[in-house]
């Protein structure tokens, strides 16, 4: 990390892992998320269609990872030790990988970690990169996330 020593607040806890957070995936939440994002695939909306395609219940759209892992992200963003100025925060980049689709009725456990903090002095931007790893009850890693947030002028 390249925070300048004279102005730096206490160093953010790079590598810190936050307590696992369990999210129970519900049918109506999947429907709500699917509708809000314009999904029309019946496997996200119609239980019979999801089952006919071999799923135990409604299938969450891939980006539903935002919902079950986003709960965990909050712990990192609002961690006083990390010291993020939320008023100056912008979402810089996002990446997900997926193992298998998640269905309604599953409980997903997410562990969040602060993976990287980088200050770019020339433009006075600080990058905070969180990693998330979400696991189903059967042990499958259903998704991983890399959440890159940028704080303007926060050196």
């Amino acid at each position: 990390m390249a925070t300048s020593a004279d102005t730096a607040p206490p160093a953010p806890p790079i590598g810190k892992a936050y307590p696992p957070l369990v999210y129970a995936v519900g049918r109506e939440k999947i429907r709500e998320f699917a509708r809000a994002t314009g999904e029309t695939n019946p496997v996200h909306l119609d239980v019979a269609a999801a089952r006919a395609a071999g799923n135990a219940d409604l299938v969450a759209p891939p980006m539903f990872a935002v919902v079950y892992a986003g709960e965990a992200l909050g712990a990192g963003l609002f961690d006083p030790e990390t010291g993020i100025d939320m008023d100056r925060l912008v979402h810089g980049a996002q990446a997900f990988t997926w193992g298998r689709p998640v269905v309604a009725g599953e409980e997903i456990t997410t562990v969040l970690s602060l993976d990287e903090v980088r200050h770019v002095a020339s433009v006075d931007l600080t990058h905070y990169v969180f990693g998330s790893r979400s696991t189903a009850e059967d042990g499958t890693v259903v998704s991983t996330g890399r959440w890159s947030n940028i704080v303007r002028g926060a050196a």
Binding site: K29, E32, F33, R35, A36, T37, G38, E39, T40, N41, P42, V43, H44, A49, A50, A52, A53, G54, V59, A60, P61, P62, M63, V66, V67, G70, E71, M86, D87, V90, H91, G92, A93, Q94, A95, F96, T97, W98, R100, P101, R146
Partner: protein, 147 residues
Amino acid sequence: MSVERDDAPAPVPPAAWEAGTDLPTVTVTPDRYVPVRYAGASGDFNPIHVDDEFARRVGLPGRILHGLWTMAQVARAQTEAIGGPDAPAALRSLSVEFRGMAVPDEEISVTSKVDRVEDGVAIVKVTARQAGSRVVRNGRAELRLPD
């Protein structure tokens, strides 16, 4: 929200995708309540997305769209290109960079082009544009093609 699709070129079936194949463009005009609905659906209630007065106070034109909502349109463009009930499982990874900001009441278009196909997995390059600006750039998706 209105959802429209280009009906110009006939989509190329996934089995025939190769380097340079254009996937169907997805265009969507989010109405002014989309950020509010997405805040509820996602749990991200940052006031820049739900409070016009707050957004203007911090120098924005008004409520802006969540970057992750726009990313969801990028994801949808990929799964709809695959099509069918197994499409959600085809998306193996997606990464994007957000640039500038996207606003409601203005059309967003998502364009996707196959970069290469390796071992049954298509690597797709994706961009989302609004009013001539790229609001998502360097999008990269990995899609497992149906057998």
